[in-house]
Symmetry: C2
Subunit: 345 residues, 2 copies
């Protein structure tokens, strides 16, 4: 029982026997078992088929022995449910048809009925919980409103966020209306995931780091506070807030909310934790590319992260970003073993 | 005379009558005069033709009235001079043939004879100086060794720096040898630019921000210290050190060297300056995408940057990154006017 709940107890900053570990994008292309399924199905088919999504969700639990499973899905299925057409093109990433850049476009987006429109996600959660048989907790997730907004506005991933920022700066009311609609959708979505059985949540703000701290505070933070206060009011499951590349304004990320703050590798873990304060947990933060190093070098880096966490309650070991698709699978297996060995109290 | 040298005096942190301003990528596609020339010549042709390069260098001085010109060129011409084949493909960015990923590859790269191999750069500098007739100083530049190394290893721009980090972590000797060779080439290159007549230098470490602070310190900092100590030993011209997205480890960037530290918009200017210390100047740091905002909003942001600089000697107004190609030209003109008006003491 205690081993099973290690991850959840760490999220609540209880004392644990060893540091729990899971990895962002732990179900992914670096893994042979995943590629076998991916060879027969498109990425979106895999997300939308509850049997496949549940199967893939469990792969890293079986192969790596991680302390939590995370639902196999994509943050953009929520945006698709709001009425945009979503496609994934090999090597190019996602494409959303008719990007939203006007007040009318924002108005046309619908707040989805998540139980109906994302029924396949809820089914996948139920199936995954059944297959997990309580071995480890299941994490649900959503993109944060700003990250979703940037996809909705750009129609794809971007380096400059040219259209997102143009809308933010020159049509602030329309941008705010979009953020409100997305925030409501995210709240409904994560609540439905909790109803379906997820035992923890992670909010991915993958693109928050493109913003000046002042703009994050003005245009993003109020929506994030609403999101977290509504999730926390319900209070059933711990919430991890991962804002990528936000190392220069972690204090504001902390203000937004979350029981655990996820950090990338661009800031040492001890500095990040000191800055967000010890009243929240911390998740991270090995550079995913460190998995291309020899084992002794990986071990040196794992020790460094653990040393910086200093056995303080509330540390969850993870990478600073998702596992890279070219990562040698054996290295990922070795990493999890290492953390379990070195992270024992 | 004093107006002419405003930029240089600010680099040396002398008291000035108003904050000087120039913009990264101030000669570029957002400008009609530039596009007229670009319509008839490829980007590399423009870099390699001293007459065209000098003409384009002067365009923003005439159109915007900025306080410094920066040589029109590209950081990758140095790598081409080391023996790699360089191409630019519309919308795709640079491509280098046969990326270097082995000790043999590093060995084959030659340290260029910059006076000979990059003769066209030196010619462009001399021509630009002549055409400027002392109106404003001319800035020369180079990519920093790590940024150049990442192009040499990846063969193109990258999001993950998969091959760069793999080489750094698993072939540290070969990576170090590459950094040494590039550092030597950069030193020769900027010295030759000073000989040819540039009156200030900027070192662009565009990709430093992909690294963990610990890795920057171990694999990059020693080379940067050599670079800056050799430039500073000569001591003729001020050097601006711009490390993009390095907001979480600005102290280490400062340790590397430079008379002025350039910062992106992901950190408030006052916080950045406090962290690097007031013994160096600071350059920045308006989000380039702010130029898509209405004028009153641009003005609010310009005031904010100037307020944070607090008229302390050593502030050079700039964007936090290059001007975006889609920026309305009129907004750029207005920005420079605004800074000149609001930055008066």
């Amino acid at each position: 029982m205690s081993e099973r709940q290690l991850f959840i107890r760490a999220c609540w900053r209880e004392e644990v026997e060893r540091t729990p570990v899971w990895l962002m994008r732990q179900a992914g292309r670096y893994m042979r078992a995943y590629r076998r399924i991916r060879g027969r199905h498109s990425f979106l088919e895999m997300c939308k088929n509850p049997r496949i999504a549940a199967e893939v969700t469990l792969q890293p639990v079986e192969r790596l022995g991680v302390d939590a499973a995370i639902l196999f899905s994509d943050i953009l299925v929520l945006v698709e449910a709001m009425g945009m057409r979503l496609e994934f093109h090999e090597g190019l990433g996602p494409r959303l048809s008719e990007p939203v850049r006007t007040p009318e476009g924002v108005h046309r987006l619908r707040v989805p009925d998540v139980e109906r429109d994302l029924h396949y996600v809820m089914e996948a959660i139920k199936l995954a919980r059944k297959k997990l048989r309580g071995r480890v907790p299941l994490i649900g997730f959503s993109g944060a409103p700003f990250t979703l907004a940037s996809y909705v506005i750009e129609g794809r991933s971007s380096r400059s966020f040219r259209f997102t920022k143009e809308m933010m700066f020159s049509q602030p009311e329309a941008f705010c209306a979009l953020m409100e609609k997305l925030t409501t959708a995210v709240i409904d979505y994560v609540n439905a995931q909790v109803d379906a059985g997820v035992q923890a949540l992670q909010i991915f703000d993958s693109w928050a780091g493109c913003l000046a701290p002042q703009d994050y505070e003005q245009y993003v933070l109020p929506h994030m506070r609403r999101l977290f206060s509504e999730i926390e009011a319900r209070g059933e499951v711990p919430v991890i807030h991962f804002a990528n590349q936000a190392g220069t304004f972690l204090e504001k990320v902390r203000l937004a909310g979350g029981d655990v703050i996820g950090v990338d590798w661009r800031i040492p873990l001890d500095e990040a934790w000191r800055r967000v304060g010890y009243e929240v947990g911390i998740q991270g933060n090995l550079d995913p590319l460190a998995l291309f190093a020899p084992l002794h070098e990986i071990e040196r880096r794992v020790r460094d992260v653990l040393d910086r966490a200093a056995s303080r309650p509330g540390h969850i070991f993870n990478l600073g970003h998702g596992v890279h698709k070219d990562t040698p699978e054996e290295k990922v297996v070795a990493l999890v073993k290492m953390v379990k060995r070195l992270g024992a109290r």
